[in-house]
């Protein structure tokens, strides 16, 4: 932990999901207040690890995203509160700034906005822009000062704390953010506290070499955070952090924003559709009628049922049982499909 590193935290602040998460009917409820105190303890631990560690926190709110705290702005701002003799000053600044900006953002939410999709993409791209600036500035300043000193880049990473289900409409932007994170060599960690498994965030963690953790005990959040997400990626090779048990590579189709595991792909532009279409909606390519007939014949019987919901509705598409897709009538080409390999059924039920 010699080298300073940068951590960007994206906090999902969806009011409805946090309400559900805190319900006492859950096995291990985690109300927002308890979550925040554990999160702040983790953030304090991060800045305490190294004097030069930097931090930025983004809030993903319904329909928007906001910067809640950043080390760069904290240095400039004058804290008006009187000094607290029992608290380390940096912690004090961090905690009060976080709480202040968070309550400002939540108060600013109107009733209409509460139902709009969460601004995860916005906060993710903002944190990437921030990291881009932080890394760029550090290289340019060292070159002007003198090149004899090795460039110390704050080793950047992003931690996404998510409670909301996947937003299928944001598939392409999320994937674009993942690829830019790969380009910047940014590790994306995902901590899923509540809600169904997130397909996109699984892929994000897998592609950038981070960890995706679905919490079994949300009330023990702080332990997960400190044991898994506090050490920087360079150190994680030496300690054993929990790994992802499987990665779901499903994608969202372009036509109805369903999350599909078998799709129909245009050979020109690679657009994904959940059912055979005569004309590609993206590049206006017309497909031969023979292919359509062939694909319609072999199409899974489930597809028409999906297409009846043109409005993107993430939760039903998400919870689409995979077993349903497996139990479909076999196409002619498959012949001796399942019975040939008994070992797989065990894997599929997990």
């Amino acid at each position: 932990m010699d080298r300073p590193n940068h951590l960007s935290v994206v906090v999902d602040l969806s009011p409805s999901q946090w309400y559900l998460c805190g319900q006492p009917s859950n096995a291990h409820p985690l109300p927002l207040a308890a979550f925040l105190s554990q999160l702040l303890a983790f953030l304090n631990a991060h800045i305490a690890c190294n004097d030069e560690n930097t931090l930025s926190v983004y809030g993903a709110l319904p329909g928007r995203s906001a910067l809640l705290y950043s080390s760069a702005s904290a240095e400039l701002s004058e804290l008006t509160d009187p000094a607290d003799s029992n608290t380390y000053r940096q912690f004090k600044i961090l905690d009060s700034t976080m709480m202040k900006s968070m309550s400002e953002q939540v108060d600013a939410l109107s009733d209409l906005e509460e139902e709009s999709p969460i601004g995860l993409v916005g906060s993710l791209t903002k944190s990437l822009c921030y990291i881009n600036r932080v890394t760029n500035v550090s290289t340019s300043s060292t070159t002007t000062v003198g090149s004899d000193e090795p460039t110390i880049r704050p080793d950047p990473r992003i931690l996404i704390i998510s409670v909301s289900p996947d937003e299928a409409a944001s598939y392409i932007p999320v994937m674009n953010s993942i690829f830019s994170a790969q380009k910047l060599k940014v590790t994306i960690d995902v901590c899923k506290i509540y809600g169904p498994e997130s397909v996109f965030l699984q892929q994000a963690a897998h592609l950038t070499g981070g960890s995706y953790i679905f919490l079994d005990r949300p009330d023990a959040l702080l332990q997960y955070l400190t044991m898994t997400f506090l050490p920087p990626p360079a150190l994680r090779q030496l300690i054993s952090v929990p790994t992802q048990d499987k990665v779901d590579f499903r994608a969202a189709c372009f036509c109805h924003k369903n999350i599909v595991d078998i799709g129909f792909v245009c050979s020109v532009c690679l657009s994904i559709f959940c059912q055979p279409v005569p004309v590609c909606s993206t590049c206006r390519t017309k497909f031969p009628i023979k292919t359509l007939q062939r694909l319609n014949a072999s199409k899974p019987a489930l597809a028409p049922a999906r297409s009846t919901a043109p409005v993107p509705s993430p939760s039903p598409a998400n919870s689409l049982p995979r077993s349903q897709a497996i139990g479909l009538p076999r196409t002619t080409s498959m012949g001796n499909g399942i019975s040939a390999s008994p070992g797989r059924n065990g894997a599929s039920t997990r």
């Binding site: 995203s65 048990d245 078998i262 792909v265 498959m334």
Partner: protein, 445 residues
């Protein structure tokens, strides 16, 4: 054909002339004529007014540099950098129909002329280094493409690497320098024929391209190279050439007639720029659309693909269907749940094409580009007036700088506004969003 020495001279001092005295233009013109004897008379007439395009680009660029009130040049230099970055963004973002499944043969010149030292350390070493970077970047942007490598040496074409979709395989072929030691003369015809034959079996919906890095000023061909050119036009093979010495008529013809690009590298940086301009997928030719109005592109097809689930190496081991080996990691076919070792592949049980969806998603930013941001001229009529960049939270300059050398596409306030969400971004984030992220932080799409 001019003697090679002259070509090299003018190559090596081209960099100097960029920043050198203004008066060199006359002597340069004379040299240019000596070199470009192969050029047509029309080109020469044009050359009288403006001998080289790059001279025009850099002419009197120092005039635009102005000191600020403290006598520092820093502001002006940053301004120039920002302008250069933004220029790339101003290119039209309309062409949506691009070829995504690409096949490319990289033809490397391995003749003795590659040992010239006008580019450091030698043309050959620099070419190898850039070729490796090119392959990496190319696969990054064209994940479904394939690259083959052909060398030109000793008057023949030499197959260095077969067509492969794996960047590691391609890199391995061009990794060993001693196997590629330059020698003899290059033969454009032999190399292009070899590249053409290796692409003849490909399906018609993929693009076929040849990229030649050419350092020589001669080509030693067994037959008529123009016949080869006609064959390439017939096969719809696009040839692009990056020349390291000077322009040759045959090279220009090869590129122009097949729809490729031709460029002569002025210096190391320009060489890289020319090469890397060939990386983004080319817009598909309009011929396909005009010929069959009802049918559209006959090669286009709808493909059924499955997106697998990846099992980690900690899962309980089971037999894979491709090698019948007991393994923990693997991918599950979404239709029949068979376990295969690698993607992309066709499922051995049900025949479904299994691809990793991130592979497909890598090319989507070409389909849905971010709208270019508009430079903000005044602070009025702003829906959200923030004093910080919406993306990276850097503060904007308080007041507009006194020297308003703002040209087209530059904002004197350093603000660039998204046409959709009307948030303001700084110049750095503007470039970063459009070149890397491909997603506007304000609108989230």
């Amino acid at each position: 054909m001019p003697p090679r020495r002259i070509g090299n001279d003018y190559e090596s001092d081209s960099e100097g002339s960029m920043f050198g005295d203004i008066d060199t233009s006359r002597t340069k013109k004379g040299k240019g004529k000596a070199v470009d004897r192969t050029k047509s008379a029309k080109a020469k007439g044009k050359a009288k007014e403006q001998p080289y395009a790059w001279e025009a680009t850099y002419t009197r660029s120092w005039d635009t540099v102005q000191e600020d009130e403290t006598g520092s040049l820093q502001g002006a230099v940053q301004d120039l950098i920002a302008r250069g970055r933004r220029r790339r963004l101003l290119a039209p973002a309309a062409a949506i129909r691009r070829t995504i499944i690409r096949h490319l043969v990289l033809v490397l010149d391995l003749s003795t002329s590659m040992m010239d030292r006008d580019m450091r350390p030698t043309r050959f070493d620099l070419m190898l280094q850039y070729a490796r970077e090119f392959v990496n970047e190319w696969f990054d942007q064209n994940p479904l493409g394939q690259i083959g490598v052909v060398g030109m040496r000793g008057g023949v074409g030499e197959r260095i690497g077969e067509m492969s979709g794996n960047p590691q395989h391609v890199l391995k072929h061009i990794a060993e320098r001693h196997k590629l030691e330059p020698g003899g003369d290059p033969s454009l015809q032999n190399a292009i024929e070899m590249a053409r034959s290796s692409m003849s079996h490909l399906p018609t919906h993929s693009s076929r391209e040849i990229v030649v890095i050419f350092g020589s000023l001669t080509t030693c061909d067994p037959g008529n190279v123009h016949d080869t050119l006609d064959e390439c036009v017939k096969d719809k093979i696009r040839i692009s050439i990056v020349a390291l010495a000077a322009e040759m008529k045959i090279c220009r013809d090869l590129c122009d007639k097949t729809g490729g690009t031709f460029g002569v590298a002025m210096n190391e940086g320009h060489f890289k720029d020319l090469l890397f301009e060939l990386i983004p997928p080319p817009a598909q030719r309009a011929i396909a659309r005009t010929t069959g109005t009802g049918v559209g592109n006959p090669a286009a097809d709808l493909m059924m693909m499955g997106f697998p689930t990846r099992l980690p190496n900690t899962s309980p081991p089971s037999l894979c269907v491709c090698h019948s080996q007991l393994k923990s990691e693997g991918f599950l076919c979404p239709r029949c749940m068979a376990k295969v070792c690698d993607v992309p592949t066709d499922c051995d049980i049900c025949g479904l094409m299994i691809v990793s969806s991130p592979h497909l998603a890598r090319s989507y930013h070409h389909l849905f580009p971010v709208k270019p941001y508009h430079p903000v001229k005044t602070l009025e009529d702003a829906p959200h007036l923030e004093n910080k960049c919406h993306a990276c939270a850097t503060a904007f300059p308080e007041s507009p700088p006194p020297v308003t050398a703002a040209t087209e596409g530059m904002s004197p306030l350093g603000r660039y506004r998204c046409p959709d969400c009307h948030y303001d971004f700084c110049a750095e984030c503007d470039v970063f969003v459009h070149e890397v992220v491909h997603c506007c932080p304000g609108c989230g799409k």
